[in-house]
Protein backbone atom coordinates (compact mmCIF):
# COMPACT_ATOMS: atom_id res chain seq x y z
CA UNK A 1 0.00 0.00 0.00
CA UNK A 2 2.77 2.38 1.00
CA UNK A 3 4.67 1.62 -2.19
CA UNK A 4 1.59 2.18 -4.38
CA UNK A 5 0.86 5.45 -2.59
CA UNK A 6 4.48 6.59 -2.94
CA UNK A 7 4.55 5.72 -6.64
CA UNK A 8 1.24 7.49 -7.16
CA UNK A 9 2.53 10.67 -5.49
CA UNK A 10 5.65 10.52 -7.65
CA UNK A 11 3.47 10.25 -10.77
CA UNK A 12 1.43 13.21 -9.58
CA UNK A 13 4.65 15.13 -9.01
CA UNK A 14 5.75 14.45 -12.62
CA UNK A 15 2.26 15.22 -13.91
CA UNK A 16 2.41 18.71 -12.38
CA UNK A 17 5.50 19.50 -14.48
CA UNK A 18 3.49 19.04 -17.68
CA UNK A 19 1.86 22.36 -16.85
CA UNK A 20 4.98 24.52 -16.78
CA UNK A 21 4.21 27.87 -18.31
CA UNK A 22 6.19 28.64 -21.44
CA UNK A 23 7.10 32.01 -19.94
CA UNK A 24 8.41 30.47 -16.74
CA UNK A 25 11.87 30.36 -18.23
CA UNK A 26 13.51 29.29 -14.98
CA UNK A 27 12.28 25.76 -15.71
CA UNK A 28 12.72 26.05 -19.46
CA UNK A 29 14.52 22.70 -19.68
CA UNK A 30 11.47 20.95 -18.19
CA UNK A 31 8.99 22.67 -20.48
CA UNK A 32 7.11 20.28 -22.75
CA UNK A 33 3.93 22.21 -23.55
CA UNK A 34 2.04 18.89 -23.37
CA UNK A 35 -0.69 20.24 -21.13
CA UNK A 36 -1.52 22.90 -23.71
CA UNK A 37 -1.18 20.85 -26.88
CA UNK A 38 -2.63 17.53 -25.74
CA UNK A 39 -5.63 18.85 -23.89
CA UNK A 40 -7.78 15.72 -24.17
CA UNK A 41 -5.08 13.36 -22.88
CA UNK A 42 -4.18 15.70 -20.02
CA UNK A 43 -7.85 16.05 -19.04
CA UNK A 44 -8.22 12.28 -18.95
CA UNK A 45 -4.98 11.95 -16.99
CA UNK A 46 -6.15 14.51 -14.43
CA UNK A 47 -9.47 12.68 -14.06
CA UNK A 48 -7.70 9.36 -13.60
CA UNK A 49 -5.30 10.89 -11.06
CA UNK A 50 -8.18 12.30 -9.00
CA UNK A 51 -10.05 9.00 -9.12
CA UNK A 52 -6.99 6.98 -8.06
CA UNK A 53 -6.16 9.53 -5.37
CA UNK A 54 -9.63 9.15 -3.85
CA UNK A 55 -9.44 5.39 -4.15
CA UNK A 56 -6.15 5.31 -2.22
CA UNK A 57 -7.57 7.81 0.29
CA UNK A 58 -10.60 5.61 0.90
CA UNK A 59 -8.37 2.55 1.34
CA UNK A 60 -6.19 4.36 3.86
CA UNK A 61 -9.25 5.50 5.82
CA UNK A 62 -10.74 2.02 5.68
CA UNK A 63 -7.58 0.53 7.16
CA UNK A 64 -6.77 3.37 9.52
CA UNK A 65 -7.31 1.11 12.56
CA UNK A 66 -4.24 -0.86 11.50
CA UNK A 67 -2.18 2.34 11.45
CA UNK A 68 -0.34 3.63 14.47
CA UNK A 69 0.82 7.20 15.10
CA UNK A 70 4.36 6.76 13.64
CA UNK A 71 2.88 5.19 10.48
CA UNK A 72 0.46 8.10 9.97
CA UNK A 73 3.31 10.52 10.65
CA UNK A 74 5.39 8.73 8.02
CA UNK A 75 2.50 8.86 5.56
CA UNK A 76 1.96 12.58 6.07
CA UNK A 77 5.69 13.33 6.13
CA UNK A 78 6.29 11.31 2.97
CA UNK A 79 3.42 13.05 1.21
CA UNK A 80 4.80 16.45 2.15
CA UNK A 81 8.31 15.35 1.13
CA UNK A 82 7.20 14.46 -2.38
CA UNK A 83 4.49 16.99 -3.15
CA UNK A 84 6.49 19.95 -1.87
CA UNK A 85 8.68 19.62 -4.96
CA UNK A 86 5.78 19.55 -7.41
CA UNK A 87 5.27 22.42 -9.84
CA UNK A 88 2.97 24.79 -7.95
CA UNK A 89 1.21 26.53 -10.82
CA UNK A 90 -0.27 23.51 -12.54
CA UNK A 91 -3.84 24.25 -11.51
CA UNK A 92 -3.65 27.81 -10.23
CA UNK A 93 -1.22 30.70 -10.48
CA UNK A 94 -1.87 32.10 -7.02
CA UNK A 95 1.63 31.41 -5.75
CA UNK A 96 2.99 33.85 -8.31
CA UNK A 97 0.48 36.45 -7.13
CA UNK A 98 1.69 35.97 -3.55
CA UNK A 99 5.28 36.48 -4.69
CA UNK A 100 4.41 39.48 -6.88
CA UNK A 101 2.57 41.18 -4.02
CA UNK A 102 5.40 40.45 -1.60
CA UNK A 103 7.89 41.85 -4.12
CA UNK A 104 5.79 45.03 -4.53
CA UNK A 105 5.97 45.58 -0.79
CA UNK A 106 9.37 44.28 0.25
CA UNK A 107 11.48 44.84 -2.84
CA UNK A 108 9.96 47.91 -4.47
CA UNK A 109 8.82 49.45 -1.18
CA UNK A 110 5.36 50.24 -2.53
CA UNK A 111 1.96 49.71 -0.96
CA UNK A 112 0.44 46.66 -2.73
CA UNK A 113 -3.04 47.98 -1.93
CA UNK A 114 -2.25 50.99 -4.11
CA UNK A 115 0.32 49.84 -6.64
CA UNK A 116 -0.21 46.82 -8.88
CA UNK A 117 2.68 44.51 -9.84
CA UNK A 118 2.01 45.26 -13.52
CA UNK A 119 3.29 48.80 -12.93
CA UNK A 120 6.83 47.47 -12.61
CA UNK A 121 7.34 47.10 -16.31
CA UNK A 122 10.23 44.88 -17.19
CA UNK A 123 10.01 42.71 -14.09
CA UNK A 124 10.38 39.09 -15.17
CA UNK A 125 7.60 38.09 -12.72
CA UNK A 126 5.10 39.71 -15.07
CA UNK A 127 5.80 37.07 -17.69
CA UNK A 128 4.03 34.37 -15.71
CA UNK A 129 1.97 36.15 -13.05
CA UNK A 130 -1.66 35.99 -14.12
CA UNK A 131 -3.26 38.61 -11.89
CA UNK A 132 -0.56 41.25 -12.03
CA UNK A 133 -3.19 43.85 -12.89
CA UNK A 134 -4.79 43.64 -9.46
CA UNK A 135 -3.94 45.32 -6.20
CA UNK A 136 -3.38 43.04 -3.18
CA UNK A 137 -6.40 40.83 -2.56
CA UNK A 138 -5.34 39.51 0.82
CA UNK A 139 -5.22 40.92 4.30
CA UNK A 140 -2.32 42.76 5.91
CA UNK A 141 -1.35 39.84 8.13
CA UNK A 142 -0.79 37.70 5.06
CA UNK A 143 1.28 40.45 3.47
CA UNK A 144 3.37 40.70 6.63
CA UNK A 145 3.86 36.94 6.84
CA UNK A 146 5.04 36.70 3.22
CA UNK A 147 8.15 38.63 4.27
CA UNK A 148 9.51 35.34 5.66
CA UNK A 149 9.39 33.19 2.48
CA UNK A 150 10.14 36.21 0.29
CA UNK A 151 13.41 37.07 2.02
CA UNK A 152 14.32 33.39 2.35
CA UNK A 153 14.20 33.27 -1.45
CA UNK A 154 17.25 35.61 -1.56
CA UNK A 155 16.01 37.20 -4.77
CA UNK A 156 16.09 33.90 -6.68
CA UNK A 157 12.67 33.18 -8.15
CA UNK A 158 12.96 29.37 -7.97
CA UNK A 159 14.16 29.52 -4.40
CA UNK A 160 11.35 31.98 -3.58
CA UNK A 161 8.72 29.69 -5.13
CA UNK A 162 9.88 26.72 -3.07
CA UNK A 163 10.34 28.88 -0.02
CA UNK A 164 6.64 29.82 -0.30
CA UNK A 165 5.78 26.15 -0.79
CA UNK A 166 7.64 25.14 2.37
CA UNK A 167 6.07 28.04 4.26
CA UNK A 168 2.54 26.94 3.30
CA UNK A 169 3.39 23.29 4.02
CA UNK A 170 4.43 24.24 7.56
CA UNK A 171 0.97 25.69 8.15
CA UNK A 172 -0.53 22.48 6.76
CA UNK A 173 1.50 20.50 9.30
CA UNK A 174 0.50 22.98 11.99
CA UNK A 175 -3.19 22.54 11.16
CA UNK A 176 -2.82 18.75 11.23
CA UNK A 177 -1.09 19.00 14.62
CA UNK A 178 -3.87 21.17 16.07
CA UNK A 179 -6.49 18.77 14.75
CA UNK A 180 -4.62 15.97 16.50
CA UNK A 181 -4.46 17.98 19.72
CA UNK A 182 -8.20 18.69 19.49
CA UNK A 183 -9.35 15.17 18.64
CA UNK A 184 -6.61 12.70 19.54
CA UNK A 185 -8.21 10.67 16.77
CA UNK A 186 -6.12 9.30 13.92
CA UNK A 187 -9.18 8.89 11.72
CA UNK A 188 -10.16 12.57 12.04
CA UNK A 189 -6.62 13.72 11.42
CA UNK A 190 -6.18 11.45 8.40
CA UNK A 191 -9.53 12.51 7.00
CA UNK A 192 -8.20 16.02 6.70
CA UNK A 193 -4.46 15.48 6.29
CA UNK A 194 -4.71 12.91 3.49
CA UNK A 195 -7.73 14.35 1.70
CA UNK A 196 -6.70 14.61 -1.98
CA UNK A 197 -8.20 18.10 -2.27
CA UNK A 198 -6.22 19.31 0.73
CA UNK A 199 -3.01 17.75 -0.59
CA UNK A 200 -3.44 19.10 -4.13
CA UNK A 201 -4.56 22.59 -3.16
CA UNK A 202 -2.21 23.06 -0.23
CA UNK A 203 0.93 21.04 -0.82
CA UNK A 204 0.91 21.34 -4.60
CA UNK A 205 -0.83 24.62 -5.43
CA UNK A 206 0.18 26.25 -2.13
CA UNK A 207 -2.96 28.27 -1.39
CA UNK A 208 -2.82 30.53 1.64
CA UNK A 209 -6.27 29.39 2.83
CA UNK A 210 -4.52 26.89 5.08
CA UNK A 211 -2.71 29.74 6.87
CA UNK A 212 -6.05 31.41 7.55
CA UNK A 213 -7.56 28.15 8.80
CA UNK A 214 -4.52 27.33 10.94
CA UNK A 215 -4.97 30.56 12.90
CA UNK A 216 -8.75 30.05 13.11
CA UNK A 217 -8.36 26.53 14.50
CA UNK A 218 -5.60 27.65 16.83
CA UNK A 219 -7.94 30.35 18.07
CA UNK A 220 -10.64 27.78 18.92
CA UNK A 221 -8.01 25.56 20.51
CA UNK A 222 -6.93 28.45 22.75
CA UNK A 223 -10.56 29.18 23.51
CA UNK A 224 -10.98 25.61 24.71
CA UNK A 225 -8.04 26.28 27.03
CA UNK A 226 -9.87 29.43 28.22
CA UNK A 227 -7.14 31.75 26.89
CA UNK A 228 -9.62 34.35 25.68
CA UNK A 229 -7.33 37.24 24.74
CA UNK A 230 -4.87 35.09 22.85
CA UNK A 231 -7.72 33.26 21.16
CA UNK A 232 -9.26 36.53 19.96
CA UNK A 233 -5.86 37.75 18.82
CA UNK A 234 -5.36 34.65 16.65
CA UNK A 235 -8.87 34.82 15.21
CA UNK A 236 -8.14 38.41 14.24
CA UNK A 237 -4.89 37.18 12.70
CA UNK A 238 -6.89 34.65 10.70
CA UNK A 239 -9.46 37.22 9.55
CA UNK A 240 -6.69 39.56 8.42
CA UNK A 241 -5.29 36.89 6.13
CA UNK A 242 -8.17 36.32 3.75
CA UNK A 243 -11.21 37.78 5.54
CA UNK A 244 -13.40 34.65 5.12
CA UNK A 245 -13.06 33.67 8.79
CA UNK A 246 -14.90 36.85 9.72
CA UNK A 247 -17.91 34.54 9.49
CA UNK A 248 -16.53 32.66 12.51
CA UNK A 249 -16.74 35.75 14.71
CA UNK A 250 -20.36 35.20 15.89
CA UNK A 251 -19.55 31.60 16.87
CA UNK A 252 -16.37 32.77 18.56
CA UNK A 253 -18.19 35.45 20.55
CA UNK A 254 -20.94 33.01 21.53
CA UNK A 255 -18.29 30.58 22.82
CA UNK A 256 -16.31 33.35 24.50
CA UNK A 257 -19.41 34.46 26.44
CA UNK A 258 -19.90 30.88 27.59
CA UNK A 259 -16.26 30.71 28.69
CA UNK A 260 -16.60 33.97 30.61
CA UNK A 261 -19.82 32.78 32.27
CA UNK A 262 -18.05 29.50 33.03
CA UNK A 263 -20.89 27.58 31.40
CA UNK A 264 -20.47 24.09 30.04
CA UNK A 265 -19.55 24.21 26.37
CA UNK A 266 -20.80 21.69 23.86
CA UNK A 267 -17.81 21.71 21.52
CA UNK A 268 -19.53 19.49 18.98
CA UNK A 269 -22.19 22.17 18.66
CA UNK A 270 -19.53 24.91 18.40
CA UNK A 271 -17.69 23.07 15.64
CA UNK A 272 -20.95 22.35 13.87
CA UNK A 273 -21.81 26.07 13.93
CA UNK A 274 -18.30 26.89 12.75
CA UNK A 275 -18.67 24.39 9.93
CA UNK A 276 -21.99 25.93 8.94
CA UNK A 277 -20.57 29.47 9.01
CA UNK A 278 -17.66 28.55 6.76
CA UNK A 279 -19.85 26.41 4.53
CA UNK A 280 -22.22 29.33 3.99
CA UNK A 281 -19.41 31.66 2.97
CA UNK A 282 -18.06 28.89 0.74
CA UNK A 283 -21.41 28.65 -1.05
CA UNK A 284 -21.79 32.44 -1.19
CA UNK A 285 -18.47 32.73 -3.02
CA UNK A 286 -20.39 31.38 -6.02
CA UNK A 287 -22.24 34.70 -6.19
CA UNK A 288 -19.13 36.81 -5.64
CA UNK A 289 -16.98 35.25 -8.34
CA UNK A 290 -16.96 31.49 -8.40
CA UNK A 291 -16.38 28.57 -6.05
CA UNK A 292 -12.71 27.76 -6.32
CA UNK A 293 -11.71 24.23 -5.25
CA UNK A 294 -9.38 25.45 -2.50
CA UNK A 295 -12.27 27.23 -0.76
CA UNK A 296 -13.22 23.80 0.61
CA UNK A 297 -10.30 24.26 3.02
CA UNK A 298 -12.54 26.74 4.86
CA UNK A 299 -14.96 24.11 6.13
CA UNK A 300 -13.05 20.82 5.90
CA UNK A 301 -11.15 21.19 9.23
CA UNK A 302 -14.45 21.68 11.06
CA UNK A 303 -16.10 18.79 9.21
CA UNK A 304 -13.55 16.32 10.60
CA UNK A 305 -14.17 17.65 14.11
CA UNK A 306 -17.84 16.59 14.02
CA UNK A 307 -17.64 13.00 12.87
CA UNK A 308 -20.88 12.11 14.66
CA UNK A 309 -22.78 14.11 12.07
CA UNK A 310 -22.23 11.68 9.24
CA UNK A 311 -24.05 13.69 6.60
CA UNK A 312 -21.68 16.65 7.14
CA UNK A 313 -18.71 14.40 6.54
CA UNK A 314 -20.24 12.82 3.44
CA UNK A 315 -21.13 16.18 1.93
CA UNK A 316 -17.66 17.54 2.68
CA UNK A 317 -16.02 14.56 1.03
CA UNK A 318 -18.38 14.77 -1.93
CA UNK A 319 -17.45 18.42 -2.40
CA UNK A 320 -13.74 17.54 -2.08
CA UNK A 321 -14.23 15.01 -4.84
CA UNK A 322 -16.34 17.16 -7.16
CA UNK A 323 -14.34 20.34 -6.77
CA UNK A 324 -11.20 18.71 -8.12
CA UNK A 325 -13.01 18.08 -11.41
CA UNK A 326 -13.69 21.77 -11.87
CA UNK A 327 -10.30 21.97 -13.57
CA UNK A 328 -11.19 19.47 -16.27
CA UNK A 329 -13.40 21.62 -18.55
CA UNK A 330 -10.74 24.33 -18.82
CA UNK A 331 -8.03 21.73 -19.33
CA UNK A 332 -10.08 20.23 -22.12
CA UNK A 333 -11.52 23.30 -23.86
CA UNK A 334 -8.81 25.82 -22.97
CA UNK A 335 -11.41 28.50 -22.26
CA UNK A 336 -13.30 29.77 -19.26
CA UNK A 337 -16.33 30.56 -21.39
CA UNK A 338 -18.91 28.60 -23.37
CA UNK A 339 -19.87 25.32 -21.77
CA UNK A 340 -16.98 25.41 -19.27
CA UNK A 341 -18.82 27.18 -16.39
CA UNK A 342 -21.84 24.88 -16.78
CA UNK A 343 -19.71 21.75 -16.54
CA UNK A 344 -17.82 23.26 -13.62
CA UNK A 345 -21.04 23.75 -11.67
CA UNK A 346 -22.28 20.33 -12.63
CA UNK A 347 -19.18 18.50 -11.40
CA UNK A 348 -19.10 20.58 -8.22
CA UNK A 349 -22.68 20.09 -7.14
CA UNK A 350 -23.52 16.67 -8.58
CA UNK A 351 -21.53 14.58 -6.05
CA UNK A 352 -22.93 16.29 -2.91
CA UNK A 353 -26.40 16.23 -4.43
CA UNK A 354 -26.11 12.50 -5.13
CA UNK A 355 -24.84 11.93 -1.58
CA UNK A 356 -27.80 13.85 -0.16
CA UNK A 357 -30.19 11.96 -2.37
CA UNK A 358 -28.73 8.62 -1.34
CA UNK A 359 -28.64 9.60 2.34
CA UNK A 360 -32.28 10.62 2.51
CA UNK A 361 -33.72 8.00 0.21
CA UNK A 362 -31.51 5.00 0.91
CA UNK A 363 -34.14 3.22 3.01
CA UNK A 364 -36.82 3.68 0.40
CA UNK A 365 -34.42 2.60 -2.34
CA UNK A 366 -33.38 -0.56 -0.56
CA UNK A 367 -36.97 -1.41 0.24
CA UNK A 368 -37.84 -1.29 -3.44
CA UNK A 369 -34.79 -3.22 -4.62
CA UNK A 370 -34.83 -5.95 -1.98
CA UNK A 371 -37.43 -8.73 -2.58
Amino acid sequence: MNLIYGLFLLSLFFFSYLFIDQNFFYLKSFYSGLAFTNRDQVSILHTVFVLIFFLIYSQILKNIRMFNIPKVKLLIGGTVGILIFSYPAFLSFDIFNYIATAKTLFFYGENPYIVMPIEFTGDSLLLFTHAANKIALYGPVWLGLTAIPFFLGFGNILLTVFSFKVFIALFYLGTVYILWKMTKNLYSVSLFALNPLVLIEILMSSHNDIVMMFFALFSFFLLSKKKLVLAFFFLLFSILIKYATLFLLPVFLYTAVKVIKKEKINWQKIFFLSFLSMFVIFLLSHFREEIYPWYAIWFLPFAVLILKRKIILYISLAFSFGLLFRYVPFMFYGTHFGITPIIKNLVTFAPPFLVLFYYFFKNKLWLKISP
Binding site: Y113, T121, G122
Partner: protein, 173 residues
Protein backbone atom coordinates in the same frame (compact mmCIF):
# COMPACT_ATOMS: atom_id res chain seq x y z
CA UNK B 1 -47.10 53.38 -37.20
CA UNK B 2 -44.42 52.04 -34.87
CA UNK B 3 -41.96 51.84 -37.75
CA UNK B 4 -42.75 55.41 -38.74
CA UNK B 5 -42.21 56.70 -35.21
CA UNK B 6 -38.98 54.75 -34.93
CA UNK B 7 -37.68 56.11 -38.24
CA UNK B 8 -38.61 59.64 -37.22
CA UNK B 9 -36.93 59.19 -33.85
CA UNK B 10 -33.73 57.92 -35.46
CA UNK B 11 -33.79 60.79 -37.98
CA UNK B 12 -34.36 63.26 -35.14
CA UNK B 13 -31.40 61.88 -33.22
CA UNK B 14 -29.20 61.92 -36.32
CA UNK B 15 -30.12 65.50 -37.23
CA UNK B 16 -30.03 67.08 -33.83
CA UNK B 17 -27.23 65.14 -32.24
CA UNK B 18 -23.86 66.80 -32.35
CA UNK B 19 -20.48 65.20 -32.24
CA UNK B 20 -18.93 65.46 -28.82
CA UNK B 21 -15.30 64.65 -28.39
CA UNK B 22 -13.18 64.88 -25.32
CA UNK B 23 -9.96 66.82 -25.61
CA UNK B 24 -8.12 64.55 -23.25
CA UNK B 25 -8.94 61.02 -22.14
CA UNK B 26 -7.75 61.77 -18.61
CA UNK B 27 -10.68 61.97 -16.20
CA UNK B 28 -10.70 64.46 -13.34
CA UNK B 29 -12.60 63.66 -10.14
CA UNK B 30 -15.92 65.16 -9.07
CA UNK B 31 -15.61 68.17 -6.77
CA UNK B 32 -15.24 67.12 -3.15
CA UNK B 33 -16.24 69.11 -0.05
CA UNK B 34 -15.67 72.83 -0.53
CA UNK B 35 -14.16 75.26 2.02
CA UNK B 36 -16.86 76.27 4.45
CA UNK B 37 -18.36 72.82 4.59
CA UNK B 38 -17.99 71.35 8.10
CA UNK B 39 -16.59 68.17 6.56
CA UNK B 40 -13.91 70.04 4.61
CA UNK B 41 -11.51 69.96 7.56
CA UNK B 42 -12.25 66.28 8.17
CA UNK B 43 -11.35 65.68 4.56
CA UNK B 44 -8.07 67.55 5.03
CA UNK B 45 -7.21 65.31 7.99
CA UNK B 46 -8.12 62.23 5.94
CA UNK B 47 -5.81 63.41 3.15
CA UNK B 48 -3.00 64.01 5.64
CA UNK B 49 -3.36 60.45 6.96
CA UNK B 50 -3.60 59.02 3.45
CA UNK B 51 -0.23 60.55 2.66
CA UNK B 52 1.36 57.81 4.80
CA UNK B 53 -0.79 55.07 3.26
CA UNK B 54 0.54 56.01 -0.18
CA UNK B 55 4.14 55.13 0.65
CA UNK B 56 6.83 54.40 -1.93
CA UNK B 57 7.78 56.59 -4.87
CA UNK B 58 4.97 55.29 -7.10
CA UNK B 59 2.54 55.54 -4.20
CA UNK B 60 3.57 59.12 -3.50
CA UNK B 61 3.27 59.90 -7.21
CA UNK B 62 -0.29 58.61 -7.20
CA UNK B 63 -1.09 60.53 -4.02
CA UNK B 64 0.33 63.83 -5.28
CA UNK B 65 -1.38 63.52 -8.66
CA UNK B 66 -4.66 62.70 -6.95
CA UNK B 67 -4.30 65.77 -4.76
CA UNK B 68 -3.28 67.94 -7.73
CA UNK B 69 -6.43 66.81 -9.54
CA UNK B 70 -8.60 67.35 -6.49
CA UNK B 71 -7.40 70.89 -5.84
CA UNK B 72 -7.61 71.80 -9.52
CA UNK B 73 -11.29 70.79 -9.53
CA UNK B 74 -11.74 72.66 -6.26
CA UNK B 75 -10.13 75.79 -7.74
CA UNK B 76 -12.27 75.53 -10.88
CA UNK B 77 -15.48 75.24 -8.84
CA UNK B 78 -14.51 78.12 -6.56
CA UNK B 79 -13.60 80.35 -9.51
CA UNK B 80 -16.95 79.57 -11.10
CA UNK B 81 -18.64 80.75 -7.90
CA UNK B 82 -16.39 83.83 -7.92
CA UNK B 83 -14.67 82.76 -4.69
CA UNK B 84 -11.40 84.01 -6.10
CA UNK B 85 -9.28 84.06 -2.95
CA UNK B 86 -10.13 80.48 -2.00
CA UNK B 87 -9.83 79.46 -5.64
CA UNK B 88 -6.33 80.92 -5.90
CA UNK B 89 -5.27 79.09 -2.75
CA UNK B 90 -6.62 75.82 -4.09
CA UNK B 91 -4.82 76.38 -7.39
CA UNK B 92 -1.53 76.99 -5.57
CA UNK B 93 -2.01 73.73 -3.67
CA UNK B 94 -2.69 71.92 -6.95
CA UNK B 95 0.51 73.44 -8.41
CA UNK B 96 2.57 72.24 -5.46
CA UNK B 97 1.21 68.72 -5.63
CA UNK B 98 1.73 68.62 -9.40
CA UNK B 99 5.36 69.71 -8.97
CA UNK B 100 5.85 66.92 -6.44
CA UNK B 101 4.78 64.26 -8.95
CA UNK B 102 7.87 64.86 -11.09
CA UNK B 103 10.08 64.61 -8.02
CA UNK B 104 8.40 61.29 -7.17
CA UNK B 105 8.99 59.96 -10.67
CA UNK B 106 12.62 61.00 -10.56
CA UNK B 107 13.00 59.21 -7.24
CA UNK B 108 11.37 56.12 -8.76
CA UNK B 109 13.77 56.25 -11.71
CA UNK B 110 16.66 56.52 -9.26
CA UNK B 111 15.38 53.35 -7.58
CA UNK B 112 15.54 51.54 -10.89
CA UNK B 113 11.79 51.49 -11.51
CA UNK B 114 10.47 51.83 -15.02
CA UNK B 115 8.53 55.10 -15.00
CA UNK B 116 7.23 55.04 -18.59
CA UNK B 117 3.68 54.11 -17.61
CA UNK B 118 3.38 56.68 -14.87
CA UNK B 119 5.07 59.32 -16.98
CA UNK B 120 2.40 58.83 -19.62
CA UNK B 121 -0.29 59.21 -16.95
CA UNK B 122 1.37 62.44 -15.80
CA UNK B 123 1.53 63.70 -19.37
CA UNK B 124 -2.18 63.03 -19.90
CA UNK B 125 -3.01 64.60 -16.56
CA UNK B 126 -0.96 67.65 -17.47
CA UNK B 127 -2.81 68.01 -20.79
CA UNK B 128 -6.15 67.77 -19.03
CA UNK B 129 -5.07 70.31 -16.41
CA UNK B 130 -3.91 72.72 -19.14
CA UNK B 131 -7.22 72.23 -20.95
CA UNK B 132 -9.19 73.11 -17.81
CA UNK B 133 -6.91 76.00 -16.88
CA UNK B 134 -7.04 77.48 -20.39
CA UNK B 135 -10.84 77.51 -20.29
CA UNK B 136 -10.72 79.01 -16.82
CA UNK B 137 -8.29 81.69 -17.99
CA UNK B 138 -10.90 82.97 -20.42
CA UNK B 139 -13.59 83.13 -17.76
CA UNK B 140 -11.85 84.94 -14.89
CA UNK B 141 -10.98 88.66 -14.73
CA UNK B 142 -7.37 89.75 -15.22
CA UNK B 143 -7.09 90.73 -11.57
CA UNK B 144 -9.44 91.00 -8.64
CA UNK B 145 -9.32 92.90 -5.39
CA UNK B 146 -10.56 90.78 -2.58
CA UNK B 147 -11.76 92.99 0.26
CA UNK B 148 -12.86 91.05 3.32
CA UNK B 149 -14.45 92.84 6.27
CA UNK B 150 -12.02 94.39 8.79
CA UNK B 151 -9.03 93.07 6.84
CA UNK B 152 -6.65 94.48 4.28
CA UNK B 153 -7.75 93.92 0.70
CA UNK B 154 -5.77 91.47 -1.41
CA UNK B 155 -5.12 91.98 -5.09
CA UNK B 156 -5.32 88.69 -6.91
CA UNK B 157 -3.57 88.45 -10.27
CA UNK B 158 -5.89 85.73 -11.47
CA UNK B 159 -4.80 85.55 -15.10
CA UNK B 160 -1.15 85.58 -14.11
CA UNK B 161 -1.71 82.82 -11.55
CA UNK B 162 -3.48 80.65 -14.08
CA UNK B 163 -0.76 81.24 -16.68
CA UNK B 164 1.79 80.32 -14.07
CA UNK B 165 -0.11 77.10 -13.31
CA UNK B 166 -0.18 76.24 -17.02
CA UNK B 167 3.58 76.84 -17.21
CA UNK B 168 4.15 74.48 -14.27
CA UNK B 169 2.18 71.76 -16.06
CA UNK B 170 4.09 72.31 -19.28
CA UNK B 171 7.43 72.27 -17.50
CA UNK B 172 6.73 69.07 -15.62
CA UNK B 173 5.26 67.11 -18.46
Amino acid sequence: MILKTLTLAILFILIFSRTVHADSSYVLPYPSFMPGNPLYKVNLIKDEILKYWYFGSFGQFKYNLKQADKYLVEAKTLFEYKQYLLGSEALKKSDNFFTQTTINLNTARGEGKDIKGNFLILKNAGSKHIEVLSKLGNEVPESFTWSPEKKKPTILQLKKDIDNSIEIRKKHQ
